[in-house]
Symmetry: C2
């Protein structure tokens, strides 16, 4: 724990001051480059992600730390992390367990394309949410 | 103008209610899939982007509508737009004029990689910001 604290002190820092302590994390498939989702991280989820190698976010709707995949099993193993010029956005390049990041069952949350003002589904449906999220 | 208003009424809508009227736009190179930057759009910049085919954002630092490239000439021509499951994030797939999106001269704003707690530069430097942004 002490070592862990020392390590945090010497690390380069992200800037969590702008958006109520949250910054966006863009999640990309590490092999195909497909953008899978966007979620938000706070400082706690940032360090948790670095420590565990699994993507942790801050759930704005549930107001709690969120290990992606804690319900579905579809965890995201971190392969690489990139930081932007302002240190207020990151890219997580991940290996997506189960082949789908979206809670609606699509490979990517960005499964719709804007065409003439309409949002048309063109993404790949991988699982049935009713099966995966049933309690 | 009237036609334009009617068109907006019939279009599918993004949800601008969560983050003070702003939602994130992930900007991706339409050919390579490289994530170039992340910026924010409000409703005005969204419609401006759709109408002109060039990426418009809302500058949080200058608090104004921002045509990307208005100073540098490095505009982003929209090739495709994707919308996420919650309608509160978009992906702009663009053709980046000048080959660089970052105001620091790099192809991508995500020019640093996190390695053992350090942010190490590994991105491609395309231009000298002092040359491009001089007045």
């Amino acid at each position: 724990m002490l070592l862990c604290r020392i390590k945090k002190i010497t690390m380069d820092k992200l800037n969590f001051t702008k958006g109520d302590g949250l910054i966006p994390a863009i999640v990309q498939d590490h092999q195909t480059g497909e953008v899978l989702m966007l979620a938000y991280i706070n400082e706690e989820s940032w360090y948790k992600t670095l420590e565990t190698g699994k993507a942790h976010y801050w759930s704005r709707s549930r107001n709690k730390l969120w290990l992606k995949g804690e319900s579905s099993g579809h965890v995201q193993v971190i392969r690489e992390i990139l930081v932007d010029c302002d240190e207020d956005t990151v890219v997580f390049k991940v290996e997506q367990a189960g082949g789908a990041a979206c809670h609606k069952g699509y490979a990517s949350c960005f499964f719709r394309k804007v065409e003439n003002g309409s949002f048309n589904v063109e993404g790949r449906l991988v699982f049935d949410p009713k099966e995966v999220y049933r309690k």
